[in-house]
């Protein structure tokens, strides 16, 4: 004999989940940083995002480390010689930190 399934909880679960709102974000700071990033050389953010995303998997669960990594790379941009390939610079920086 098949067991009697329990009553549906999905609708209740979704209704409760809809009430959950995001934590506050520092919107102005994010906007300011986005303006800064938009002003950087074309391709920077795409390169950074791709490389960082791949590295980030190595730091799953270590959010502080990942955030520190991002900050270090971002600060390292100040010393990037733009004649050098951006991907090489980012890869070396990430490699040195991991």
């Amino acid at each position: 004999m098949n067991p009697t399934p329990p009553p549906s909880h999905w609708s209740d679960l979704v209704a409760a989940a809809r009430r959950d709102g995001p934590p506050p974000v520092a919107f102005d700071r994010l906007l300011q940083a986005a303006r800064g990033a938009a002003a950087r050389p074309a391709g920077f953010l795409e390169e950074f995002t791709a490389l960082f995303a791949s590295r980030r998997a190595l730091y799953a669960g270590g959010l502080a480390t990942a955030a520190a990594l991002a900050l270090a790379v971002w600060q390292g941009m100040a010393v990037w010689d733009q004649a050098a390939p951006l991907a090489d610079f980012l890869s070396a920086t990430l490699g040195g930190l991991s």
Partner: protein
């Protein structure tokens, strides 16, 4: 969020922003920040990731605002950008999950999507549980069902934002719900 009485419309602000008015752009983005943030929060439980995603939306808007044409509401265009950022995140998360599973994670490590304390703990717990189911789905299924169940959008609207035709969206929705149902063997989908 619609403009308050007496405030300029989204479209008027976009035109000013396209002409180089930074203040108009700030006003426009602040007007929609709650919408952007709420949608992206449906895809992650990590505030740090939420920051990244919001910033990604802002960056895409800054870079692509010149492409907006007045043949669709700005909010629709912005939601399309936001949903695409969410979809890209789901794709990366699916890839990372495969790597982590293959790497035999440290059992002492904190959960990668540990929820934040919230004003409404029950809602946060429910959202975490819903996300735990949805995040097991392929990225497109996850986006489709997340927006349908948590934002309450109909499938046609979601398909439009994602650039899918109506028949394709209908088929994807059917299959996505089937997959979700298989994760909830003793429960029903409404």
């Amino acid at each position: 969020m619609p403009p308050a009485p007496g405030e300029p419309s989204d479209e008027a602000l976009v035109r000013r922003a396209q002409a180089g008015d930074a203040h108009a752009l700030d006003l426009l983005l602040r007007r929609h920040q709650a919408d952007i943030t709420r949608i992206l929060w449906r895809f992650t439980r990590r505030p740090a990731d939420l920051d990244d995603l919001v910033q990604d939306v802002l960056l895409r808007v800054l870079r692509n605002l010149g492409q907006w044409r007045n043949d669709q509401p700005f909010q629709h265009w912005l939601r399309r950008v936001t949903v695409n950022v969410g979809r890209d995140y789901c794709r990366r998360a699916a890839t990372a999950r495969r790597w982590i599973q293959e790497a035999s994670p440290d059992p002492a490590a904190p959960a990668p999507e540990a929820p934040e304390p919230a004003a409404d703990p029950a809602a946060r717990a429910a959202a975490g549980e819903v996300l735990s189911y949805l995040s097991q789905l392929p990225p497109n299924d996850r986006v489709l069902l997340t927006l349908h169940y948590l934002e309450g959008w109909d499938f046609q609207h979601i398909g439009d934002l994602l650039g899918w035709s109506a028949p394709v969206t209908k088929l994807r929705a059917f299959r996505a719900r089937q997959r979700l149902r298989s994760l909830l063997p003793l429960q029903e989908l409404s």
